[in-house]
Symmetry: D2
Subunit: 424 residues, 4 copies
Amino acid sequence: MTTAVMDNEKMKTFKELESAVRSYSRGWPTVFEKAKGYRLWDTDGKEYIDFFAGAGALNYGHNNDTMQDKLIEYIQDDGILHSLDMGTTPRKKFLEKFQETILKPRNLDYKIMFPGPTGTNTVESALKIARKVTGRETVISFTNAFHGMTIGSLSVTGNSTKRKGAGIPLNHTVSMPFDQFVDDQDTTLYLESYLEGSSTGVDLPAAIILETVQGEGGINAARMEWLKRIEEICKRFDILLIIDDVQAGCGRTGTFFSFEPAGINPDIVCLSKSIGGIGLPMAITLIKPEYDQWTPGEHNGTFRGNNLAFLAATEALTYWETDDFSENIMERADFLKDTAESIVEKYPELKAEARGRGLMQGIAVHVDGLAEEICAEAFKRGLIIETSGPKDEVVKFLPPLIIDEEGLSKGLEILEASIKHVLA
Amino acid sequence: MTTAVMDNEKMKTFKELESAVRSYSRGWPTVFEKAKGYRLWDTDGKEYIDFFAGAGALNYGHNNDTMQDKLIEYIQDDGILHSLDMGTTPRKKFLEKFQETILKPRNLDYKIMFPGPTGTNTVESALKIARKVTGRETVISFTNAFHGMTIGSLSVTGNSTKRKGAGIPLNHTVSMPFDQFVDDQDTTLYLESYLEGSSTGVDLPAAIILETVQGEGGINAARMEWLKRIEEICKRFDILLIIDDVQAGCGRTGTFFSFEPAGINPDIVCLSKSIGGIGLPMAITLIKPEYDQWTPGEHNGTFRGNNLAFLAATEALTYWETDDFSENIMERADFLKDTAESIVEKYPELKAEARGRGLMQGIAVHVDGLAEEICAEAFKRGLIIETSGPKDEVVKFLPPLIIDEEGLSKGLEILEASIKHVLA
Amino acid sequence: MTTAVMDNEKMKTFKELESAVRSYSRGWPTVFEKAKGYRLWDTDGKEYIDFFAGAGALNYGHNNDTMQDKLIEYIQDDGILHSLDMGTTPRKKFLEKFQETILKPRNLDYKIMFPGPTGTNTVESALKIARKVTGRETVISFTNAFHGMTIGSLSVTGNSTKRKGAGIPLNHTVSMPFDQFVDDQDTTLYLESYLEGSSTGVDLPAAIILETVQGEGGINAARMEWLKRIEEICKRFDILLIIDDVQAGCGRTGTFFSFEPAGINPDIVCLSKSIGGIGLPMAITLIKPEYDQWTPGEHNGTFRGNNLAFLAATEALTYWETDDFSENIMERADFLKDTAESIVEKYPELKAEARGRGLMQGIAVHVDGLAEEICAEAFKRGLIIETSGPKDEVVKFLPPLIIDEEGLSKGLEILEASIKHVLA
Amino acid sequence: MTTAVMDNEKMKTFKELESAVRSYSRGWPTVFEKAKGYRLWDTDGKEYIDFFAGAGALNYGHNNDTMQDKLIEYIQDDGILHSLDMGTTPRKKFLEKFQETILKPRNLDYKIMFPGPTGTNTVESALKIARKVTGRETVISFTNAFHGMTIGSLSVTGNSTKRKGAGIPLNHTVSMPFDQFVDDQDTTLYLESYLEGSSTGVDLPAAIILETVQGEGGINAARMEWLKRIEEICKRFDILLIIDDVQAGCGRTGTFFSFEPAGINPDIVCLSKSIGGIGLPMAITLIKPEYDQWTPGEHNGTFRGNNLAFLAATEALTYWETDDFSENIMERADFLKDTAESIVEKYPELKAEARGRGLMQGIAVHVDGLAEEICAEAFKRGLIIETSGPKDEVVKFLPPLIIDEEGLSKGLEILEASIKHVLA
């Protein structure tokens, strides 16, 4: 049997029964079974190195031993699994651990909201409370932003295909130029001019929402000065600053929050993906106490009380008790950056550039379709890696943060081999 | 120490660290720890009977033994937990089991979409695909409808407080009168007249979305004739019919889908809550093959691959292999109906009426604030039960479907005692 | 030369140079030259009786002698013609005459706004001030309503073809059923139920806007009890009542305002069309003093100071100094009603019914296309009459109010002859 | 009696009976009676020089003798005054004259639409047809744009106070930076980048609408290169270019259309104000034949057939039969420019700059409130002149185009005297 036929057989159930909307099972046509750390295995026993990390949901790798133990023990004890926003022991422990390990040491004062266990849900909750608190409707987002797929989040997302998917016009938002959108122009000047004027056609917004490093948008990392300027503008005009740290947060860029190096203090922070520790659905919204003006139940949802996720999330926070984890990430990040840059230099045919920061990096390949070919080849060779960017032009490195030097090197070797193969 | 002081101490963490939006931990001020079947225990060891079932997410009760075993075994084996929409063994098995146990025996032909693991996500996906397929923007929903809290779902939700929470106008939707909205008038006549006329101010909609029994809206059960008429109107005008079976589905009304007794065949069905079996976040959208016109990835999301949920969900479907489960539910439902009606009769001071069908019933209490007082008293006496309806005027019975006669009787006794106490 | 060829020659300029949007010059393919009272003449000298009255803009007939004299004299004196909302003598005189002749005798207290000289402009201004004063966004309009062609007015218009013309979704409005929309059902019950409930999906509106007799919508005359109920509902819920009297006002139904017989007191009244007396562009918006909360210039426009129109408008108001004019209209109206009813009875093949009140009447012909054929034939025979209604199914009588018995009889004879011809 | 008391007495009717929205009668508190050429007289016989020209509606001055004669003769002959879009002799003559005198000599091929007799109506019609033809919803407008006060036109207007007046959010539009919005940056780069990217949050628009010289926005004249670049971008992305020439057209900048010097060929052109010749309400929309895809009556309105306006409009076009008129305007414009610049230089305390082109110029005074004081003083001294700009900071010169050197000099002397007085 040829591979294609075998693949067909293997993927039959998905092809026949699942909706046409499925995507990852197309690019990676196999059935995954086990996973540990930075490695996965499919039903044929083939091993894969993970440079994808559940699109950022598996920063702590697959099946961390301690987390597994906590889950098993809890289930065995008939611990309450589903609890909406009722009080439960795991919820209590998570709240306390997050306060103690993350917020306090950073001098951050936020109320913690559980908005429903997905990224789009925390974004929707952030937009709602910002609009409520200010009494304004407009929200400013940025070119190449990605914030989610429900209508509220989609309205602050840039991608035109995804926007069209809404089937209705997406309003009450204004898209401003992200850092370096137009070469050599300070894009904050435009933003500020629009807000300064009283006749610019742009209403004073409730909030500005942004990712410090745009993941889906093509690994565009805003400069720290730019982030500071945005915060200044927000303060000057009394606009709430929302950082969507769903993908860039939870250590992805080296610090727990991606905005820490900029020294800014956002009014609202959105976290999801790796906040759940082991890949279980969870999200939180951090809101400065003065803006936590919700009435009880004003935003709700059935799955806000995923106690298994709370357990793993609490365990995951132990990584942040010392600086070791952060230092480790930066070390790996430097190695990744060096390798990415050397690849760019070595293969000028790629017309490529290295991008990103921390363990959120990418190689933008300015030859149509090439990035996708490279990732497809890498998969065959046992590396899970995907593209991002408006034209899927960026090979996106998103390894678990716990990856060791060996794993990282091995993955990068597969990648380089794939590039060579594709260019040949 | 008084109870209030003790409560204060116990709930301190939630009060101090969690956002003001929390609601259930206010009405039920305790910390829950364990749960099994139809019972819960808090950290003080106090036992509660569950007439709430995770707002419908725990139809199969808490911590079903077999499901627990499956989860533990899978975790122990390093089974892949988080997988977006990649192929995995649990996903495959769920697809096959759902096809075989649910769709085939009912002669239903649907593609299965995993839209993100919450109710609001399946609704958003349904609205999107209906708009895409028809090229139309308007969606018709009904008075007292509840479909979720993200902007798309909120726009088809009736509750004015929740709608205001959006902070922006909610458009592209038209609210039509639900069954029996105005006494003695056939509300489908209105709907039909609006669609027939070419000058009625209502555009031909992409879809009509409805719950067969409105849960949050006050346990309003549409009559089967009314549902049939709606389906006829949809066919006549080429409008897609979306049934939101998030709360009323998965056996809640006695059959797997709530619409089965009406003999209708919706174009799109939304399932969440109990589809995950043991209360883990999961949702699916069922779409007739001819309308499954998504492009790959057009709607996506990080937590579409919750493998623990798939395992429990697959196990839960075994309940539907024979008719026994359904018959059991109907038996309990009859008993519940009889008791509810006798309570209504016995306590005329309640100015009450019994409502609902299957194990989704309620007593509408037309004295301001009384329903809430009854539920608060019941909590003190060890019964978890909540209100619904636009004015929180309905005491809502939503026990796990696996509840036995004894549990049901005991719960209803507590309720009656609470009513007596409150009326005294 | 055949008539068609001659028509072609005559209409060449319009066909070649004017936009495809032109409509009346298609149905009435001639070039009009002169007009007096209820008669028009084309360039061939052919005479026409006018049952159209400039779509209601010529209630006082064509070229009233006194009005002509006033215009000529003013022009000869170099009177200022264009003046925005600067003070001018004709503006001053109009304001005083309107106050004295119309408002005072009816005990009505309104501020007079000049919103731009068209019907759609007065409607837009009414919607704006209602939204401003109440701080609410939604406006309720009715099935078959017509309020104008700019986006604000179009959003409260029912006609689906005209709505589609907007090219964008029309929002912030809710369409409720007009009087007798569904047979034998009191449509105010629906409206009231939607407003009473707190979970109906319909926000508390800023205003309800309606025409007492829907002209474009098919000559649907609301019953006086219905209008009273609407006013009651507005008062109960603190909603502003806007009467769009653009077509039904200025005496069209027998009284100056069409709502006088209902004894209601709207918060805002829109007037245009015949307010200008001789057919010159003019409009006013009447606003109760407590709601006249505009800031200066908040709504403006270049042509708010059409002094020729003010002159003719002031002269036209002399018709209302005594009751004679009103009585005359009612006399003609009775004759018209009797004739319309006898035609309906005499020609059952028309499947027709008589509708309307005052000199705003129609015969609804329930045979597809027939009403249009009748009007086309009438034109050939020297009668200017048009259709209205969602399917152009209503032959619409809108003669100048100054028409005498002879003119009315003659017109009706032509109409009957046309019906006979078409039916033959 | 003091002047204030006298003013009070004179303006009593307006203060008591007219809506608070009136504005010009506040700044110029008198009652105007007569006007001729570039001069007006009030009821006290006081003479005023007109640097306002009916906000651009009186380019040919007040009460042109020949136009007056035409009007009088037509009225005396019982010419039909009001005719919707029926064929009439004056409409025919206007169409032919416009074709022959304006379009043909400029090699322009447009269908002529009569959209209702106001500026906002032509803009609304332009937006509608552009959206219909392209099937797209978004329209791009510019910072500081002003296009009218009905909801469609307001949605492409920049002024935040006027926008708020809508009482609803204004959507389906994107505001881009006008020429020189940010110092030393080419704003077309931004626009183009937004359209080029597929993930910028800005949908491909139906049209771009702009004024070549922004009147209300503060006399901002776009450079010819900028206009050409905009046209290129429109062509590149298949976007319709709409020039709103309501104020800048009809010779205001020296050529009939304001865009002639740029050598561009817009797809749609909006004209109103001075198109009616003598200040009577009239507007036309010019549409390239390939985009004239209206169905008959899709946009309509009662006052599209203002025959008196057609007569004056036709007469006005005789000004354009030779180049003399245009040359005269340019001569006056040069003189005005020189004087404005010398004033700016002479009075540095004004912190002023001269702006504009043709006879559409201004002095931007960057001292708060000063421009308004200057205009108020000028009024007292017999000069009618108003401010514009987002903060009313621009003294705006808009004299009738027929003004002679003497009139212009005299007006400018009054202005300078007023400046001196105010600065003293």
